[in-house]
Amino acid sequence: MNTRVHLTLRTAPDLPVEADSLLPETVTGKETADIAALPLLVGNHTETVGDHFQVEITDGSPDTADTLATLELTGNLSRFKHIGEAMTRGTLTVNGPVSFHAGAKMSGGELIINGDAGDYLGAMMTGGTIVVNGNAGHFAGSSYRGYSRGMSGGTILVHGNAGNLTGARMRRGLIAVRGTCGDLAGFSMGAGTVLIGGEVGVRAGANMSRGSVILLTPPEEIRPTFRYNATCVPAFWPVMHGSLSEAGWSVPETGPYALFKKYSGDVNEGSRGELLLYAGTA
Protein backbone atom coordinates (compact mmCIF):
# COMPACT_ATOMS: atom_id res chain seq x y z
CA MET A 1 0.00 0.00 0.00
CA ASN A 2 1.19 3.49 -0.80
CA THR A 3 1.48 5.50 2.39
CA ARG A 4 1.27 9.23 2.87
CA VAL A 5 3.87 10.90 5.00
CA HIS A 6 2.87 14.31 6.37
CA LEU A 7 5.49 16.64 7.76
CA THR A 8 3.97 19.69 9.42
CA LEU A 9 6.34 22.51 10.32
CA ARG A 10 6.14 23.51 13.97
CA THR A 11 7.94 26.83 13.82
CA ALA A 12 9.74 28.52 10.98
CA PRO A 13 13.52 28.31 11.55
CA ASP A 14 15.64 31.43 11.84
CA LEU A 15 18.40 29.98 9.66
CA PRO A 16 18.32 28.59 6.13
CA VAL A 17 17.73 24.85 5.95
CA GLU A 18 19.19 22.48 3.36
CA ALA A 19 16.19 20.22 2.80
CA ASP A 20 17.40 18.06 -0.10
CA SER A 21 16.94 14.94 2.05
CA LEU A 22 13.17 15.38 2.11
CA LEU A 23 12.23 13.15 -0.79
CA PRO A 24 9.61 10.41 -1.23
CA GLU A 25 12.31 7.77 -1.54
CA THR A 26 14.01 8.78 1.71
CA VAL A 27 10.84 8.43 3.78
CA THR A 28 9.47 5.34 2.08
CA GLY A 29 9.39 2.28 4.31
CA LYS A 30 10.35 4.21 7.41
CA GLU A 31 8.47 4.47 10.66
CA THR A 32 7.60 7.81 12.22
CA ALA A 33 10.64 7.77 14.51
CA ASP A 34 13.00 6.95 11.66
CA ILE A 35 11.67 9.84 9.61
CA ALA A 36 11.95 12.17 12.56
CA ALA A 37 15.59 11.15 12.92
CA LEU A 38 16.53 12.09 9.34
CA PRO A 39 19.20 14.81 9.32
CA LEU A 40 18.65 18.39 8.20
CA LEU A 41 21.46 20.88 7.75
CA VAL A 42 20.36 24.06 9.52
CA GLY A 43 22.78 26.90 9.18
CA ASN A 44 26.15 25.30 9.76
CA HIS A 45 25.06 22.43 11.98
CA THR A 46 22.98 19.29 11.65
CA GLU A 47 19.57 18.92 13.21
CA THR A 48 16.79 16.40 12.55
CA VAL A 49 13.45 16.41 10.79
CA GLY A 50 11.80 15.85 14.14
CA ASP A 51 13.33 19.03 15.50
CA HIS A 52 11.26 21.04 13.04
CA PHE A 53 8.37 18.90 11.86
CA GLN A 54 5.57 16.89 13.32
CA VAL A 55 5.65 13.57 11.47
CA GLU A 56 2.52 11.65 10.64
CA ILE A 57 2.03 8.54 8.51
CA THR A 58 -1.41 7.71 7.17
CA ASP A 59 -3.04 5.21 4.85
CA GLY A 60 -1.86 1.93 6.23
CA SER A 61 1.30 -0.06 6.56
CA PRO A 62 4.81 0.92 5.54
CA ASP A 63 5.56 0.69 1.86
CA THR A 64 7.17 -2.14 0.07
CA ALA A 65 10.39 -1.44 -1.76
CA ASP A 66 8.45 -0.94 -5.00
CA THR A 67 5.90 1.53 -3.75
CA LEU A 68 6.92 5.02 -2.92
CA ALA A 69 5.27 7.03 -0.23
CA THR A 70 3.64 10.31 -1.09
CA LEU A 71 5.38 13.03 0.87
CA GLU A 72 3.53 16.15 1.93
CA LEU A 73 5.14 19.13 3.65
CA THR A 74 3.04 21.83 5.25
CA GLY A 75 4.09 25.18 6.65
CA ASN A 76 6.06 28.29 5.84
CA LEU A 77 9.09 26.68 4.21
CA SER A 78 10.47 29.90 2.76
CA ARG A 79 13.79 29.18 4.48
CA PHE A 80 13.94 25.61 3.23
CA LYS A 81 16.19 25.28 0.20
CA HIS A 82 16.65 22.39 -2.23
CA ILE A 83 13.23 20.85 -1.58
CA GLY A 84 12.73 18.10 -4.13
CA GLU A 85 16.24 18.53 -5.48
CA ALA A 86 17.45 15.56 -7.52
CA MET A 87 14.08 13.88 -7.08
CA THR A 88 13.73 10.84 -9.32
CA ARG A 89 10.20 9.55 -8.76
CA GLY A 90 7.12 9.76 -6.60
CA THR A 91 5.07 12.75 -5.53
CA LEU A 92 6.14 15.54 -3.20
CA THR A 93 3.57 18.16 -2.28
CA VAL A 94 4.41 21.33 -0.39
CA ASN A 95 1.63 23.38 1.18
CA GLY A 96 3.39 26.67 1.64
CA PRO A 97 6.21 28.71 0.15
CA VAL A 98 9.64 27.24 -0.51
CA SER A 99 13.07 28.76 -0.93
CA PHE A 100 15.72 28.44 -3.64
CA HIS A 101 16.54 25.41 -5.79
CA ALA A 102 13.23 23.56 -5.39
CA GLY A 103 13.18 20.66 -7.84
CA ALA A 104 16.62 21.54 -9.17
CA LYS A 105 18.26 18.69 -11.06
CA MET A 106 15.20 16.50 -10.61
CA SER A 107 14.85 13.74 -13.17
CA GLY A 108 11.40 12.33 -12.47
CA GLY A 109 8.33 12.40 -10.30
CA GLU A 110 6.06 15.29 -9.47
CA LEU A 111 6.73 18.26 -7.24
CA ILE A 112 3.67 20.32 -6.39
CA ILE A 113 4.17 23.60 -4.59
CA ASN A 114 1.03 25.22 -3.25
CA GLY A 115 2.75 28.51 -2.60
CA ASP A 116 5.59 30.60 -3.98
CA ALA A 117 8.95 29.20 -5.03
CA GLY A 118 12.33 30.89 -4.80
CA ASP A 119 15.03 31.27 -7.41
CA TYR A 120 16.44 28.41 -9.47
CA LEU A 121 13.19 26.45 -9.44
CA GLY A 122 13.84 23.29 -11.49
CA ALA A 123 17.27 24.52 -12.48
CA MET A 124 19.03 22.00 -14.71
CA MET A 125 16.25 19.46 -14.25
CA THR A 126 16.16 16.60 -16.72
CA GLY A 127 12.69 15.16 -16.20
CA GLY A 128 9.55 15.09 -14.12
CA THR A 129 6.98 17.78 -13.48
CA ILE A 130 6.93 20.80 -11.21
CA VAL A 131 3.67 22.61 -10.58
CA VAL A 132 3.77 25.92 -8.71
CA ASN A 133 0.43 27.24 -7.56
CA GLY A 134 1.99 30.59 -6.82
CA ASN A 135 4.91 32.59 -8.14
CA ALA A 136 8.41 31.50 -9.07
CA GLY A 137 11.60 33.46 -8.58
CA HIS A 138 14.40 34.13 -11.03
CA PHE A 139 16.22 31.50 -13.09
CA ALA A 140 13.38 28.96 -13.24
CA GLY A 141 14.56 26.04 -15.37
CA SER A 142 17.81 27.78 -16.10
CA SER A 143 21.41 26.67 -15.78
CA TYR A 144 23.53 27.40 -12.77
CA ARG A 145 26.24 29.95 -13.26
CA GLY A 146 29.19 28.46 -15.05
CA TYR A 147 27.09 25.82 -16.76
CA SER A 148 26.03 25.97 -20.38
CA ARG A 149 22.87 23.85 -20.18
CA GLY A 150 19.73 24.63 -18.26
CA MET A 151 16.84 22.23 -17.93
CA SER A 152 17.01 19.45 -20.48
CA GLY A 153 13.69 17.74 -19.91
CA GLY A 154 10.50 17.76 -17.91
CA THR A 155 7.84 20.37 -17.32
CA ILE A 156 7.52 23.42 -15.08
CA LEU A 157 4.02 24.85 -14.77
CA VAL A 158 3.80 28.13 -12.88
CA HIS A 159 0.29 29.41 -12.26
CA GLY A 160 1.50 32.78 -11.02
CA ASN A 161 4.37 34.97 -12.14
CA ALA A 162 8.04 34.23 -12.73
CA GLY A 163 11.18 36.30 -12.46
CA ASN A 164 14.07 37.07 -14.75
CA LEU A 165 15.97 34.63 -16.93
CA THR A 166 13.24 32.04 -16.93
CA GLY A 167 14.44 29.12 -19.04
CA ALA A 168 17.86 30.60 -19.59
CA ARG A 169 20.06 28.16 -21.52
CA MET A 170 17.42 25.45 -21.41
CA ARG A 171 17.89 22.56 -23.83
CA ARG A 172 14.58 20.73 -23.73
CA GLY A 173 11.28 20.62 -21.88
CA LEU A 174 8.50 23.08 -21.22
CA ILE A 175 8.18 26.04 -18.89
CA ALA A 176 4.70 27.56 -18.83
CA VAL A 177 4.11 30.70 -16.77
CA ARG A 178 0.49 31.76 -16.51
CA GLY A 179 1.20 35.26 -15.23
CA THR A 180 3.90 37.77 -15.98
CA CYS A 181 7.57 37.07 -16.47
CA GLY A 182 10.67 39.12 -15.94
CA ASP A 183 13.42 40.05 -18.33
CA LEU A 184 15.33 37.76 -20.64
CA ALA A 185 12.86 34.88 -20.78
CA GLY A 186 14.44 32.07 -22.77
CA PHE A 187 17.81 33.78 -22.81
CA SER A 188 20.30 31.77 -24.85
CA MET A 189 18.00 28.76 -24.94
CA GLY A 190 19.02 25.91 -27.20
CA ALA A 191 15.72 24.02 -27.44
CA GLY A 192 12.46 23.50 -25.60
CA THR A 193 9.55 25.82 -24.99
CA VAL A 194 8.99 28.83 -22.75
CA LEU A 195 5.36 29.90 -22.70
CA ILE A 196 4.36 33.12 -20.94
CA GLY A 197 0.72 34.05 -20.45
CA GLY A 198 1.07 37.55 -19.10
CA GLU A 199 3.27 40.51 -19.81
CA VAL A 200 6.93 39.80 -20.29
CA GLY A 201 10.02 41.88 -19.57
CA VAL A 202 12.61 43.01 -22.02
CA ARG A 203 14.72 40.96 -24.38
CA ALA A 204 12.65 37.80 -24.51
CA GLY A 205 14.53 35.14 -26.46
CA ALA A 206 17.76 37.08 -26.58
CA ASN A 207 20.59 34.95 -27.92
CA MET A 208 18.36 31.93 -28.37
CA SER A 209 19.69 29.44 -30.90
CA ARG A 210 16.72 27.04 -31.07
CA GLY A 211 13.44 26.40 -29.32
CA SER A 212 10.28 28.43 -28.90
CA VAL A 213 9.35 31.40 -26.78
CA ILE A 214 5.59 31.78 -26.90
CA LEU A 215 4.08 35.01 -25.64
CA LEU A 216 0.32 35.10 -25.20
CA THR A 217 0.50 38.76 -24.30
CA PRO A 218 2.68 40.20 -27.04
CA PRO A 219 5.19 42.87 -25.97
CA GLU A 220 5.11 46.29 -27.54
CA GLU A 221 8.42 45.65 -29.21
CA ILE A 222 10.74 42.75 -29.73
CA ARG A 223 14.44 42.61 -30.24
CA PRO A 224 15.65 43.69 -33.66
CA THR A 225 17.47 40.40 -33.97
CA PHE A 226 14.17 38.63 -34.65
CA ARG A 227 12.60 38.68 -38.09
CA TYR A 228 8.95 38.26 -38.94
CA ASN A 229 7.94 35.24 -41.04
CA ALA A 230 4.19 34.73 -41.09
CA THR A 231 0.99 34.65 -39.07
CA CYS A 232 -0.26 31.11 -38.68
CA VAL A 233 -1.46 28.39 -36.32
CA PRO A 234 1.69 26.51 -35.32
CA ALA A 235 0.94 22.86 -36.02
CA PHE A 236 2.08 21.79 -32.57
CA TRP A 237 0.03 24.38 -30.69
CA PRO A 238 -3.26 22.41 -30.57
CA VAL A 239 -1.33 19.43 -29.15
CA MET A 240 0.44 21.57 -26.58
CA HIS A 241 -2.76 23.42 -25.72
CA GLY A 242 -4.53 20.13 -25.11
CA SER A 243 -1.68 18.87 -22.98
CA LEU A 244 -1.66 22.03 -20.87
CA SER A 245 -5.41 21.99 -20.49
CA GLU A 246 -5.28 18.40 -19.25
CA ALA A 247 -2.64 19.47 -16.75
CA GLY A 248 -4.96 22.18 -15.47
CA TRP A 249 -2.95 25.04 -16.94
CA SER A 250 -5.64 26.97 -18.76
CA VAL A 251 -5.02 29.27 -21.66
CA PRO A 252 -8.52 30.57 -22.15
CA GLU A 253 -7.78 33.57 -24.30
CA THR A 254 -6.19 31.60 -27.05
CA GLY A 255 -7.93 28.29 -27.58
CA PRO A 256 -6.28 25.45 -29.47
CA TYR A 257 -6.47 27.11 -32.88
CA ALA A 258 -4.82 30.40 -32.12
CA LEU A 259 -2.95 32.50 -34.60
CA PHE A 260 0.60 33.50 -33.82
CA LYS A 261 3.00 35.87 -35.46
CA LYS A 262 6.13 33.88 -35.97
CA TYR A 263 9.52 35.54 -35.73
CA SER A 264 12.82 33.74 -36.28
CA GLY A 265 15.86 34.56 -34.25
CA ASP A 266 18.16 35.34 -32.70
CA VAL A 267 19.91 36.19 -35.96
CA ASN A 268 23.17 36.33 -34.07
CA GLU A 269 22.73 32.64 -33.26
CA GLY A 270 21.56 31.35 -36.63
CA SER A 271 17.85 32.29 -36.56
CA ARG A 272 16.73 28.77 -35.75
CA GLY A 273 14.77 29.78 -32.67
CA GLU A 274 11.30 31.26 -32.80
CA LEU A 275 9.23 33.87 -31.04
CA LEU A 276 5.52 33.20 -31.32
CA LEU A 277 3.30 36.15 -30.48
CA TYR A 278 -0.39 35.53 -30.00
CA ALA A 279 -2.38 37.24 -32.73
CA GLY A 280 -5.98 36.20 -32.23
CA THR A 281 -8.14 33.22 -32.92
CA ALA A 282 -7.96 31.48 -36.27
Partner: protein, 299 residues
Protein backbone atom coordinates in the same frame (compact mmCIF):
# COMPACT_ATOMS: atom_id res chain seq x y z
CA UNK B 1 -23.31 -26.47 -41.56
CA UNK B 2 -25.91 -24.23 -43.17
CA UNK B 3 -26.97 -20.67 -42.35
CA UNK B 4 -30.06 -19.35 -44.14
CA UNK B 5 -29.69 -22.31 -46.47
CA UNK B 6 -26.12 -21.29 -47.33
CA UNK B 7 -23.56 -24.05 -46.99
CA UNK B 8 -20.61 -23.20 -44.76
CA UNK B 9 -17.79 -25.40 -45.95
CA UNK B 10 -15.81 -27.29 -43.33
CA UNK B 11 -12.54 -25.60 -44.07
CA UNK B 12 -10.32 -22.84 -42.74
CA UNK B 13 -8.76 -19.57 -43.78
CA UNK B 14 -5.00 -19.53 -43.49
CA UNK B 15 -3.44 -16.25 -42.42
CA UNK B 16 0.07 -14.97 -41.84
CA UNK B 17 1.88 -12.73 -39.39
CA UNK B 18 2.40 -9.23 -40.74
CA UNK B 19 4.07 -6.16 -39.35
CA UNK B 20 1.28 -3.72 -38.56
CA UNK B 21 0.79 -0.13 -37.46
CA UNK B 22 -2.08 2.27 -36.88
CA UNK B 23 -1.83 5.90 -37.95
CA UNK B 24 -4.12 8.74 -36.94
CA UNK B 25 -4.57 11.39 -39.59
CA UNK B 26 -6.07 14.73 -38.61
CA UNK B 27 -7.02 17.75 -40.64
CA UNK B 28 -8.95 20.99 -40.44
CA UNK B 29 -12.19 19.15 -41.11
CA UNK B 30 -13.58 15.68 -41.87
CA UNK B 31 -13.36 16.26 -45.60
CA UNK B 32 -9.61 16.72 -45.65
CA UNK B 33 -8.96 14.02 -43.11
CA UNK B 34 -10.83 11.64 -45.40
CA UNK B 35 -8.93 12.89 -48.43
CA UNK B 36 -5.64 12.08 -46.76
CA UNK B 37 -6.88 8.73 -45.47
CA UNK B 38 -8.13 7.67 -48.86
CA UNK B 39 -4.94 8.76 -50.54
CA UNK B 40 -2.61 7.02 -48.10
CA UNK B 41 -4.57 3.77 -48.12
CA UNK B 42 -5.16 3.82 -51.87
CA UNK B 43 -3.43 1.24 -54.07
CA UNK B 44 -2.66 -0.83 -51.00
CA UNK B 45 -4.76 -3.89 -51.72
CA UNK B 46 -2.15 -6.60 -51.66
CA UNK B 47 1.51 -6.94 -50.77
CA UNK B 48 1.89 -8.89 -53.98
CA UNK B 49 1.67 -5.84 -56.17
CA UNK B 50 1.51 -2.88 -53.82
CA UNK B 51 4.14 -3.80 -51.23
CA UNK B 52 1.69 -3.04 -48.44
CA UNK B 53 -1.92 -3.55 -47.43
CA UNK B 54 -3.90 -0.78 -45.79
CA UNK B 55 -7.37 0.34 -44.90
CA UNK B 56 -9.30 2.96 -42.99
CA UNK B 57 -9.99 1.71 -39.47
CA UNK B 58 -12.56 4.34 -38.54
CA UNK B 59 -13.08 7.75 -37.02
CA UNK B 60 -10.64 8.62 -34.24
CA UNK B 61 -12.46 9.13 -30.99
CA UNK B 62 -9.81 11.48 -29.61
CA UNK B 63 -7.02 12.98 -31.65
CA UNK B 64 -3.84 14.52 -30.22
CA UNK B 65 -4.59 17.93 -31.71
CA UNK B 66 -8.32 17.81 -31.10
CA UNK B 67 -9.17 18.04 -34.78
CA UNK B 68 -11.27 15.64 -36.84
CA UNK B 69 -9.31 12.51 -37.59
CA UNK B 70 -9.31 9.02 -39.01
CA UNK B 71 -7.36 5.95 -38.02
CA UNK B 72 -5.72 3.93 -40.78
CA UNK B 73 -4.12 0.50 -40.57
CA UNK B 74 -1.03 -0.63 -42.46
CA UNK B 75 0.32 -4.13 -42.92
CA UNK B 76 3.64 -5.22 -44.42
CA UNK B 77 5.45 -8.52 -44.78
CA UNK B 78 8.29 -7.29 -42.56
CA UNK B 79 9.17 -4.32 -40.42
CA UNK B 80 11.50 -3.08 -43.14
CA UNK B 81 8.90 -3.42 -45.87
CA UNK B 82 6.30 -1.70 -43.74
CA UNK B 83 8.58 1.19 -42.92
CA UNK B 84 9.64 1.65 -46.52
CA UNK B 85 6.07 1.79 -47.78
CA UNK B 86 4.77 3.94 -44.94
CA UNK B 87 7.51 6.49 -45.46
CA UNK B 88 6.53 6.83 -49.08
CA UNK B 89 2.84 6.94 -48.42
CA UNK B 90 2.91 9.37 -45.52
CA UNK B 91 5.31 11.58 -47.41
CA UNK B 92 3.39 11.55 -50.65
CA UNK B 93 -0.20 11.24 -49.50
CA UNK B 94 -0.57 12.70 -46.01
CA UNK B 95 2.05 15.41 -45.97
CA UNK B 96 0.77 16.67 -49.32
CA UNK B 97 -2.82 16.95 -48.11
CA UNK B 98 -3.80 20.47 -46.99
CA UNK B 99 -3.98 21.02 -43.21
CA UNK B 100 -3.10 17.41 -42.36
CA UNK B 101 -1.10 16.07 -39.43
CA UNK B 102 -0.02 12.55 -38.67
CA UNK B 103 0.15 10.75 -35.32
CA UNK B 104 0.74 7.28 -33.95
CA UNK B 105 -2.69 5.72 -33.61
CA UNK B 106 -1.58 3.36 -30.85
CA UNK B 107 -2.33 -0.33 -30.57
CA UNK B 108 -3.85 -0.60 -27.13
CA UNK B 109 -5.43 -3.94 -28.01
CA UNK B 110 -1.98 -5.53 -28.37
CA UNK B 111 0.24 -6.58 -25.45
CA UNK B 112 2.80 -3.96 -24.47
CA UNK B 113 5.71 -6.37 -24.69
CA UNK B 114 4.95 -7.04 -28.36
CA UNK B 115 5.22 -3.43 -29.42
CA UNK B 116 8.20 -1.93 -31.18
CA UNK B 117 8.81 1.44 -32.78
CA UNK B 118 8.94 2.66 -36.33
CA UNK B 119 10.75 5.96 -36.64
CA UNK B 120 8.72 7.42 -39.44
CA UNK B 121 8.51 11.07 -38.50
CA UNK B 122 12.17 10.96 -37.58
CA UNK B 123 12.94 10.20 -41.23
CA UNK B 124 10.30 12.21 -43.02
CA UNK B 125 11.63 15.26 -41.21
CA UNK B 126 14.49 15.52 -43.69
CA UNK B 127 12.00 16.85 -46.21
CA UNK B 128 12.35 20.05 -44.23
CA UNK B 129 15.78 20.53 -45.79
CA UNK B 130 17.35 21.58 -42.54
CA UNK B 131 14.51 23.90 -41.50
CA UNK B 132 12.60 21.16 -39.68
CA UNK B 133 12.26 21.49 -35.93
CA UNK B 134 11.09 19.16 -33.23
CA UNK B 135 8.82 19.80 -30.29
CA UNK B 136 8.56 17.44 -27.33
CA UNK B 137 5.16 17.49 -25.66
CA UNK B 138 4.44 15.11 -22.78
CA UNK B 139 7.54 13.06 -23.57
CA UNK B 140 6.43 12.57 -27.16
CA UNK B 141 8.54 14.10 -29.91
CA UNK B 142 6.87 15.67 -32.89
CA UNK B 143 8.51 17.02 -36.02
CA UNK B 144 7.45 20.27 -37.58
CA UNK B 145 8.20 20.33 -41.27
CA UNK B 146 7.75 23.66 -43.01
CA UNK B 147 5.57 23.34 -46.10
CA UNK B 148 4.11 25.91 -48.46
CA UNK B 149 0.75 25.87 -46.72
CA UNK B 150 2.21 26.20 -43.23
CA UNK B 151 3.61 23.33 -41.20
CA UNK B 152 3.24 19.58 -41.39
CA UNK B 153 3.28 17.96 -37.96
CA UNK B 154 4.21 14.31 -37.60
CA UNK B 155 4.98 12.22 -34.57
CA UNK B 156 8.54 10.93 -34.51
CA UNK B 157 7.81 7.28 -33.69
CA UNK B 158 4.93 4.98 -34.46
CA UNK B 159 4.05 1.74 -32.70
CA UNK B 160 4.46 -1.46 -34.66
CA UNK B 161 3.15 -4.89 -33.70
CA UNK B 162 2.84 -8.34 -35.21
CA UNK B 163 -0.55 -8.23 -36.87
CA UNK B 164 -2.30 -10.78 -39.03
CA UNK B 165 -2.84 -10.63 -42.76
CA UNK B 166 -4.64 -12.84 -45.21
CA UNK B 167 -7.72 -13.78 -43.27
CA UNK B 168 -10.40 -14.44 -45.84
CA UNK B 169 -13.63 -16.02 -46.91
CA UNK B 170 -15.25 -16.49 -50.29
CA UNK B 171 -18.84 -16.03 -51.27
CA UNK B 172 -20.02 -18.38 -54.00
CA UNK B 173 -23.30 -17.26 -55.53
CA UNK B 174 -25.70 -17.90 -58.38
CA UNK B 175 -24.97 -14.52 -59.93
CA UNK B 176 -22.62 -11.60 -59.68
CA UNK B 177 -25.49 -9.48 -58.34
CA UNK B 178 -26.10 -11.95 -55.52
CA UNK B 179 -22.38 -12.26 -54.74
CA UNK B 180 -21.93 -8.50 -54.68
CA UNK B 181 -24.97 -7.90 -52.49
CA UNK B 182 -23.76 -10.50 -50.01
CA UNK B 183 -20.23 -9.16 -50.00
CA UNK B 184 -21.45 -5.61 -49.48
CA UNK B 185 -23.60 -6.72 -46.57
CA UNK B 186 -20.64 -8.51 -45.04
CA UNK B 187 -18.32 -5.50 -45.41
CA UNK B 188 -20.88 -3.22 -43.83
CA UNK B 189 -20.85 -5.34 -40.68
CA UNK B 190 -17.13 -6.00 -40.66
CA UNK B 191 -16.24 -2.31 -40.85
CA UNK B 192 -17.73 -1.86 -37.41
CA UNK B 193 -14.93 -3.89 -35.82
CA UNK B 194 -11.93 -1.75 -34.85
CA UNK B 195 -8.48 -2.96 -35.71
CA UNK B 196 -9.65 -4.55 -38.94
CA UNK B 197 -8.67 -3.49 -42.45
CA UNK B 198 -10.37 -4.77 -45.56
CA UNK B 199 -7.73 -3.65 -48.05
CA UNK B 200 -9.44 -4.29 -51.37
CA UNK B 201 -11.73 -1.79 -53.13
CA UNK B 202 -14.87 -1.46 -51.08
CA UNK B 203 -13.53 -4.33 -48.98
CA UNK B 204 -14.18 -6.83 -51.74
CA UNK B 205 -11.87 -8.63 -54.19
CA UNK B 206 -13.23 -10.24 -57.33
CA UNK B 207 -9.86 -11.47 -58.55
CA UNK B 208 -8.46 -13.61 -55.78
CA UNK B 209 -5.10 -15.13 -56.56
CA UNK B 210 -3.23 -18.38 -56.25
CA UNK B 211 0.44 -18.66 -55.44
CA UNK B 212 2.63 -18.84 -58.56
CA UNK B 213 1.79 -19.15 -62.20
CA UNK B 214 2.61 -21.12 -65.28
CA UNK B 215 4.63 -18.04 -66.17
CA UNK B 216 7.88 -18.04 -64.23
CA UNK B 217 7.97 -14.27 -63.89
CA UNK B 218 4.65 -14.07 -62.04
CA UNK B 219 4.52 -14.65 -58.26
CA UNK B 220 0.73 -14.96 -58.31
CA UNK B 221 -2.00 -15.55 -60.80
CA UNK B 222 -5.77 -15.85 -60.96
CA UNK B 223 -7.27 -18.35 -58.57
CA UNK B 224 -8.29 -20.81 -61.28
CA UNK B 225 -10.03 -23.18 -58.89
CA UNK B 226 -12.57 -20.46 -58.08
CA UNK B 227 -13.10 -19.03 -61.59
CA UNK B 228 -16.58 -20.04 -62.80
CA UNK B 229 -15.94 -19.27 -66.46
CA UNK B 230 -13.24 -21.97 -66.75
CA UNK B 231 -14.88 -24.46 -64.41
CA UNK B 232 -14.91 -27.27 -66.96
CA UNK B 233 -11.28 -26.74 -67.91
CA UNK B 234 -9.80 -26.82 -64.43
CA UNK B 235 -9.07 -30.27 -63.03
CA UNK B 236 -9.59 -29.36 -59.39
CA UNK B 237 -12.29 -26.72 -59.62
CA UNK B 238 -13.91 -25.57 -56.40
CA UNK B 239 -16.99 -24.23 -58.15
CA UNK B 240 -20.16 -26.21 -57.34
CA UNK B 241 -22.82 -26.60 -59.95
CA UNK B 242 -25.03 -23.51 -60.16
CA UNK B 243 -22.37 -21.06 -58.98
CA UNK B 244 -21.65 -18.33 -61.50
CA UNK B 245 -19.79 -15.73 -59.47
CA UNK B 246 -17.37 -15.67 -56.55
CA UNK B 247 -16.23 -12.75 -54.44
CA UNK B 248 -13.67 -12.80 -51.68
CA UNK B 249 -13.18 -10.66 -48.62
CA UNK B 250 -9.63 -10.40 -47.35
CA UNK B 251 -9.12 -9.45 -43.71
CA UNK B 252 -6.07 -7.90 -42.07
CA UNK B 253 -6.16 -7.08 -38.39
CA UNK B 254 -4.04 -6.30 -35.40
CA UNK B 255 -5.04 -9.39 -33.40
CA UNK B 256 -6.24 -12.94 -33.93
CA UNK B 257 -9.49 -12.15 -32.14
CA UNK B 258 -10.26 -9.27 -34.47
CA UNK B 259 -9.83 -11.45 -37.57
CA UNK B 260 -11.99 -14.15 -36.02
CA UNK B 261 -14.75 -11.73 -35.08
CA UNK B 262 -14.70 -10.02 -38.47
CA UNK B 263 -14.89 -13.38 -40.21
CA UNK B 264 -17.80 -14.45 -38.06
CA UNK B 265 -19.94 -11.36 -38.50
CA UNK B 266 -19.04 -11.11 -42.17
CA UNK B 267 -20.14 -14.63 -42.98
CA UNK B 268 -23.34 -14.26 -41.00
CA UNK B 269 -24.20 -11.12 -42.92
CA UNK B 270 -23.31 -12.68 -46.26
CA UNK B 271 -25.75 -15.56 -46.00
CA UNK B 272 -28.34 -13.96 -48.25
CA UNK B 273 -30.59 -15.30 -50.99
CA UNK B 274 -28.64 -16.34 -54.07
CA UNK B 275 -25.57 -17.30 -52.08
CA UNK B 276 -24.92 -21.02 -52.31
CA UNK B 277 -21.72 -21.57 -50.40
CA UNK B 278 -19.15 -19.82 -48.26
CA UNK B 279 -15.66 -21.19 -48.08
CA UNK B 280 -12.13 -19.95 -47.40
CA UNK B 281 -8.70 -20.05 -48.94
CA UNK B 282 -5.80 -21.94 -47.48
CA UNK B 283 -2.59 -23.70 -48.42
CA UNK B 284 -3.23 -26.87 -46.52
CA UNK B 285 -2.09 -25.27 -43.30
CA UNK B 286 1.56 -25.42 -44.23
CA UNK B 287 2.31 -21.75 -44.82
CA UNK B 288 0.37 -19.57 -42.42
CA UNK B 289 0.37 -20.14 -38.69
CA UNK B 290 -3.06 -18.61 -38.09
CA UNK B 291 -6.01 -20.84 -39.01
CA UNK B 292 -9.61 -19.67 -38.85
CA UNK B 293 -11.99 -22.62 -39.09
CA UNK B 294 -15.26 -21.29 -40.42
CA UNK B 295 -17.60 -23.74 -38.74
CA UNK B 296 -15.86 -23.28 -35.38
CA UNK B 297 -16.20 -19.51 -35.62
CA UNK B 298 -19.89 -19.80 -36.42
CA UNK B 299 -20.66 -22.67 -34.09
Amino acid sequence: MRINNVEIVDTFAEAFPMAAARVTITAKNEKWAMQAAQAVTGFATSVIGCGIEAGIDGVSSKTPDGRPGLDCLFFGMSAGALEKQMLKRIGQAIMTTPTSACFDGGVSECPADERTELKLGGKIRYFGDGFQASKVINDTRYWRIPVMEGEFLIQESFTMVDGIGGGNFMILAESDDAALAAAEAAVERMKEIRGVALPFPGGIVRSGSQVGSKYAFLPASTNVAFCPTIRSRVPKTEIPKGVNSVMEIVIDALTYEQVAEATRVGIEAACLPGVMQITAGNYGGKLGKHHFHLQELLG
